[in-house]
Symmetry: none
C-alpha cells in the first residue's frame, strides 16, 4: 500500500509555517508498514487541489488530506475532492444539527457559514470530530481511499487515533518492518558509503542521514532476524566508528561509559568556548561524572587557571599540541577530575596562518594512569561548523579512550 499526504492551506506556503501535521501522519503510516511516497502542500485553490488530487490518485492507494475543512469561503477541500472524484456534495441535516449543538454548548448560535462544514461527498463516511466543528470524511473511490482531516493539530490527532489507526490495523498492508538506527561519529558521509559497499551488495541500499560529524544509518529488515543480519554486517564494516543506536547522542554514550567506570571528567576549552561542557551537561544526571570546565578564551586564563607556562604559550602558540596537553592535565589537576579534555583551535573567520589555517584544532585527553591521547585536526566549514566538529571529535576521543580502558 502506498500513501500520499496533501496539506491544504495558503498559510502553509508562507515563510513562517510548516506542515507539522505530516509528522504525526508519517509516524502512523510507518508503524503500519505503509510506504509514504510524497508529501505536498498547496494553497486554498480549488482547481489546483483537484489537479493535484488526480495526480496523487494515480500514484497512491491512500491519500491523507489535512486542512481546508473550516467554515469560510477559502476552505475548499471538500469542493476539490468533489471535483477530482466527480461526486456531488450535499448538506447533511444531522451534521448541521450536531454543529448547532456544539455552538449551543458554549451559549452561542451557529453562524450560517458553518453550514458549509455539513457538506458531505456522495458515498463518503462521516468521521466525527469530538474536538471541533469540522467533521472529517472517508471516501473510497476507484481503488483510492481518501481521508479528509481538519488541519487543527489536536483535532487531527484525535481523529487519527480513532479512525485512521483502526482502518490501517484492519488492513495491515504488510507486517511492519523491523528497524534500527546506528550512529557514527567523525567519518565523512562518502567514507561511510565506501565502507558499506559490502552491505549494499548483500542487502540493498540503507538510509543514510548525515549531519556535520554525525551520521545516522537506518537499517531495515522484514523480520527481527533479517534486521540482525543487516546490523551485524554493518557493524563489521564500520567497527568502532559506530557509537550508538537510535536517539542516543555521543554525549550520552560518553557519559554512560564514564559512569560505568566510575571516572570523572573536566574540560578546558578555547575555541569551542564551553560547547563540550554544554553537551556533556545536556544529559540528565551528568553531575555524576562531569565536574566542570574552564573556558580559557584569553592566554591569561590559560596561564593562571590551567597552569600553562607563559614561556610555552609564547614559544608554541595557543593552538599547539604542547599547550592543549598542558590544558588537559591542568584542568584535571585543578578541578580534581580523573580525566581532562582540552581543545584549542582556529575557528575563524580570522586568525588563520599558513602553518595553522582556519580549521586547525588541537585536542588532548589527559588520563590519570595512562598515556595522554592527542590529535591535530583540519576541520572544514565556517566558524560554527569548525566549533561543532571540534566538540564531536573531542567527545569521540573520550569514547575511544573508554573503549581502550574496557580492553
Amino acid at each position: 500500500m502506498k500513501a500520499a499526504i496533501l496539506a491544504i492551506g495558503s498559510e502553509l506556503l508562507g515563510p513562517d509555517r510548516l506542515d507539522t501535521n505530516s509528522l504525526e501522519l508519517t509516524e502512523t503510516l510507518e508503524r503500519h508498514g505503509v510506504e509514504l511516497v510524497s508529501k505536498q502542500v498547496v494553497g486554498d485553490d480549488v482547481e489546483r487541489i483537484e489537479r493535484v488530487l488526480r495526480q496523487l490518485a494515480a500514484d497512491a492507494d491512500l491519500i491523507l488530506v489535512t486542512g481546508g475543512l473550516g467554515p469560510t469561503a477559502d476552505d475548499v477541500t471538500r469542493e476539490g475532492v468533489a471535483r477530482a472524484t466527480g461526486r456531488e456534495l450535499s448538506e447533511d441535516p444531522a451534521i448541521v444539527e450536531e454543529i448547532r449543538r456544539k455552538f449551543a454548548a458554549f451559549g452561542r448560535e451557529m453562524p450560517e457559514v458553518n453550514r458549509r462544514q455539513a457538506a458531505v461527498l456522495a458515498g463518503a463516511e462521516v468521521l466525527e470530530n469530538p474536538r471541533g466543528t469540522a467533521p472529517g470524511l472517508l471516501l473510497e473511490h476507484e481503488g483510492t481511499t481518501f481521508f479528509l482531516f481538519p488541519g487543527v493539530p489536536t483535532e487531527l490527532q484525535g481523529m487519527v487515533a480513532h479512525r485512521l489507526e483502526p482502518w490501517l490495523a484492519a488492513r495491515r498492508p504488510r507486517p511492519p518492518r523491523a528497524r534500527r538506527i546506528l550512529r557514527v561519529a567523525c567519518l565523512p558521509e562518502s567514507r561511510v558509503e565506501e565502507l558499506l559497499e559490502p552491505v549494499y551488495a548483500r542487502f540493498g541500499a540503507l538510509g543514510i542521514l548525515a549531519s556535520p560529524g554525525d551520521i545516522r544509518i537506518r537499517l531495515e529488515g522484514a523480520s527481527a532476524a533479517e534486521l540482525e543480519a543487516v546490523e551485524t554486517a554493518t557493524r563489521e564494516c564500520l567497527g568502532s566508528a559506530v557509537y550508538g543506536t537510535g536517539a542516543q547522542s555521543l554525549e550520552e554514550v560518553v557519559g554512560d561509559g564514564l559512569r560505568r567506570r566510575g571516572l570523572t571528567i573536566a574540560t578546558a576549552e578555547s575555541c569551542t568556548g564551553g560547547w563540550i561542557a554544554q553537551r556533556l551537561t545536556a544529559v540528565a544526571g551528568s553531575s555524576d561524572y562531569f565536574v566542570g570546565s574552564v573556558v580559557a578564551y584569553s592566554d591569561r586564563v590559560k596561564r593562571e587557571h590551567l597552569g600553562v607556562p607563559r614561556e610555552i604559550l609564547e614559544r608554541c602558540g595557543a593552538v599547539s599540541p604542547e599547550v592543549v596537553a598542558l590544558m588537559a592535565s591542568g584542568v584535571a589537576q585543578r578541578l580534581g577530575s580523573d580525566w581532562g579534555l582540552a581543545v584549542s583551535g582556529v575557528a575563524g573567520p580570522g586568525g588563520g596562518t599558513e602553518a595553522k589555517p582556519v580549521g586547525t584544532v588541537d585536542v588532548a585527553l589527559f588520563r590519570a594512569r595512562e598515556e595522554p591521547s592527542r590529535a591535530r585536526l583540519r576541520l572544514p566549514g565556517g566558524r560554527a561548523t569548525v566549533r561543532l566538529l571540534a566538540t564531536q571529535w573531542a567527545l569521540d576521543m573520550v569514547r575511544h579512550a573508554l573503549r581502550e580502558e574496557a580492553g
Copy 2:
C-alpha cells in the same frame, strides 16, 4: 511568475524531519513577489522525481529543487531532472578537479563516489558551492527554469543569496515589499500579541514567529515609508523588549554593546553548563570582550575556583541569590574581567524541591562600579528548554545593563 518547491530525500518522508529549507526559499520568493503554488517532498526515487517534475513544470515557471545532490547512489536528483527534461548528463572535468582540490585542502583524497557530483545537465549553468562539494545547477528548459540546490542548509543559504536572489531581482516580477524583522527576547508570544493590538488595529496582522525565549516579528510595507511607520508603531508598543533586527542574535547584540563600551565579561555557569559562554563565543571576534568561563558543576569548583564559602553553599544552597551573586563577583575577580555573569538553577528532570521546583534559576550580573543585577526565574519546559531559556534571560540581563550604562 509562479514557483514550486520540490525537496528530495527519503529521510524527509520519515517522522523525524521536515523540509525546513523551504522556509528560506519561501521568504525569498515572497520578497520578490513570486507566487508559490506548491511545496512537495518525494523520496530518492528517480522515476517519481521525473514524474513529479513533469507535473510541476506544467503548473510553474520556476522550480526550486533541493537535496539529492550528494555523492551516493541514492542521490538521484540530477538523473531525475535529466529524465524529466530529456537532457544528457556528463561529467565536467573542471568540477572533478574542484572537488579534488576541496578534499586536498583537508589533506584527504577525493573518494571515487564524489565524481557523481561533477555530472552536469546539457545546457545547464553550474552554480558554485563555496561551502560544500556539491555544485548546484541552473537550467532553462521549455519555458521553465530549474534551480538545483544541495539540501545542506548552510550550503543552500549561500547559493540562494548569491545566485537565486540576483536571478529574481533581474526579473523582478513585482516591486518587492519592504520588510524588516524585529527580534524580541524573554516575552511570551501571547504577551507580544497583546502588546501589539494597537499595531494590528492600524496596520493589520504582522507575522509572529515564536521560538523559546525569542520572537521574530515580521513587518511589511508597500514602501520604505510605510514600513517605517509600522516599525515605529511596533517599537512604541514593545519598548526595550526589542533587542535587534533581522538575523542579529542576542549574543551579537550583547557583544557589540560590550565592545562599544570597552568592557570585558566572564561567566560562571552551573545549570547552563557552559552554554552562555558557547553562545558568546559563537560570535567572531568575541575575544575582544569575552575572557572566559568557569563551569562549576560541583560545589567544590564553586568553592575553590569561584570563592563561594562552604558555609554559604550549605546554608543557602547552590541555587540561591546569595550563591549566584558570589559566583558572579568571583568569576570577574579571578578571571580579571569587568563584569561577571552567573547562573545556577534546577534544570531537571530530577533535583526539584517544593521551595525550588524544576525550572527555578537564579541569575546575577556583577559590575565593577554598579549595583549587581539579580533575578530569580521560574522557567517552563523540560531540561533542554529550561537551560536554553536560562541562557536567554542571562544574556538579556547583560543587554539591559548595557542600556542602563548608555543612559
